[in-house]
Amino acid sequence: METIVIRGRGAIPGIASGPAMVCRETIQGWSGIDETTGKVIEKGHPAEGQTIRDVVLVLSGGKGSNGWSSHFHAARIRGISPCALVLPKIDSRTGVAAVVCGVPTVVDLQEDPFMVIESGDLVTVDGTSGTVTIRKASHDG
């Protein structure tokens, strides 16, 4: 299995691994994530219907409501949270969400993770050292 390591800035320390959920499209605040299921409910979003629960969420950024983080917060209180965050470029909405989720987070990556990580890859996020290790899943068939 191919292993790739990309580097960024460790923002929230700790190590966690899980399957990647890759969102090149931002997720909106209101009507973006169902706080009770963790599912993306934004109409037409490529990840619509997928859940953020226990995934390594690779997300381009936030948009919409300034209450963006509160939806991740409310989901986390219900036990639904990504196990780690990979944010190619930090912004204020995702920054607050990272703090409220409190999961290992790497931000401001040196290379484009959307060129490297695909949904389903097994990803280990080390928020202390700022490394993201990707073990490629077989995407055949």
């Binding site: 919409g64 963006w68 409310a74 204020s92 909405r93 920054g95």
Partner: protein, 421 residues
């Protein structure tokens, strides 16, 4: 991170547990952003009230809920003081006409309990998404926080004030410790434009500007700051109120330069990022038509709920609605709500606009909206909004038809009970 003596003493507990906890949050947030210092916040606009998302905490103890959801503290700490001038944003309940929203008395009372705690902590209970129309006016270079996305765009863009979008938790923490990370919109290099939008359509009405904002947002990548040029003359605060509300729905900018109009954009060179333009995008009549097609159900039909005032209506918008409704009657199958801020309603009461609206069968509502309250009349099968933001966000939450149009179309639908151009 460089922290002042005062900040270090707060972290040491000198200002009490609430101030310490809130500053700890802001320092953590600053670390995530990569900020190397904090700046002093003078104003905070806060999402106060018993909002639905708070129900995630299974506790009857309001202070436990506030501690977790507003201050990220699993330990209960009393919200007893803000550290800067603070106003409340929308809550889920109109404290006057709550029953007309479909709220129950226990929901009204619970919301009042939350608001009362905020009041005792020093938050002025304005209850509006348009703080800049009710005395919350930061000047150029002033650092503030707000929980309303379009308000960031308004106050950063029009007056050169400084806030990031942040989030509800960060806003409450900043309100208490009066600090926010010195990063993004709080530093000059974070405020430069990246994407040039050539406005080749001719936006005139509030609806045109609403659609323009929606169309710009659909094309604006994350981490970008738009610059508008072209047919932008004639824009005013009301048009920008709708434009920015829509733009902050389909994208996430915290500042929008308008060449020759906003103070940091006297010329393109003055507001442009040192790395140059990342893209040039044209917004013409076709892009506005496409935006409207996304927002408005294409099949004409009956309407039984009409809601105006997202963002909250100004006094002149209320006056225009009252002028339209004077001598007419809202259809017996339609509920008409017009939303505004409490201080603006006081003026509408004084001027007789409220009575005209009520005589026609509508209601001038305060302090909330269908989106924040997630309430509309029971049995609603089709609703009409004069706000792209409201139509966009409510569509996924309902099986009812959603229509979008200008205020005149919506008011006409409230009279006829039907939608159709």
């Amino acid at each position: 991170m460089q922290l002042s003596e005062e900040e270090l003493s707060i972290l040491d507990g000198q200002g009490g547990p609430l101030k310490r906890k809130t500053l700890e949050f802001i320092v953590n947030y600053a670390t995530v952003l990569g900020a190397d210092s904090l700046c002093r916040v003078s104003k905070a606009h806060l999402f106060c009230g018993a909002h639905h998302y708070l129900k995630a905490v299974r506790s009857k103890d309001m202070d436990e809920v506030m501690s977790e959801m507003w201050f990220c503290s699993p330990d209960k700490i009393l919200f007893d003081a803000v550290g800067c001038f603070s106003q409340s944003d929308c809550s889920p309940v109109d404290h006057i006409n709550w029953s007309k929203m479909g709220c129950y008395e226990d929901e009204f009372r619970e919301n009042e309990r939350y608001l009362d705690r905020c009041l005792k902590a020093g938050v002025h209970l304005v209850g509006s998404c348009v703080p800049y129309m009710t005395g919350f006016i930061p000047v150029r270079g002033e650092h503030y926080v707000t929980t309303e996305s379009h308000a960031v765009l308004m106050m950063n863009s029009l007056w050169g004030a400084c806030s990031n979008a942040d989030g509800i938790e960060a806003a409450f923490c900043s309100a208490v410790c009066a600090r926010t990370p010195r990063w993004g919109m709080h530093v000059p290099e974070g405020r430069k434009g990246t994407h040039l939008f050539s406005v080749t359509c001719k936006p005139e009405t509030v609806e045109d500007w609403d659609l323009l904002g929606y169309a710009v947002g659909l094309r604006l990548p994350p981490h970008s700051t738009p610059i508008l040029e072209g047919n932008v003359a004639g824009v005013d605060m009301l048009r920008l109120k709708s434009c920015f509300a829509a733009m902050a729905t389909t994208s996430g900018p915290e500042l929008c330069h308008i060449l020759g109009i906003t103070p940091e954009a006297p010329t393109l060179a003055a507001c442009l990022s040192p790395s140059g333009l990342e893209d040039r995008i044209e917004i013409g009549p076709r892009q506005l038509r496409e935006a409207r097609e996304i927002l408005c159900d294409q099949q004409a039909g009956e309407v039984n709920y009409v809601s105006l005032g997202c963002p909250h209506y100004s006094i002149d918008q209320i006056s225009e609605a009252a002028a339209f409704l004077g001598g007419r009657k809202v259809h017996e199958n339609v509920t008409l709500h017009i939303w505004t801020a409490l201080p603006i309603k006081a003026v509408a009461d004084r001027c007789g606009y409220t009575k005209t609206i009520e005589d026609a069968g509508g209601t001038l509502m305060v302090g909330s909206c269908p989106l924040v309250s997630e309430r509309w009349p029971a049995g609603t099968r089709a609703m009409a909004f004069d706000s792209a933001k409201q139509a966009h966000y409510i569509k996924p939450l309902t099986s009812a038809k959603v229509f979008f149009g200008n205020a005149g179309e919506c008011l006409q639908a409230s009279i006829s009970g039907k939608w159709g151009r």
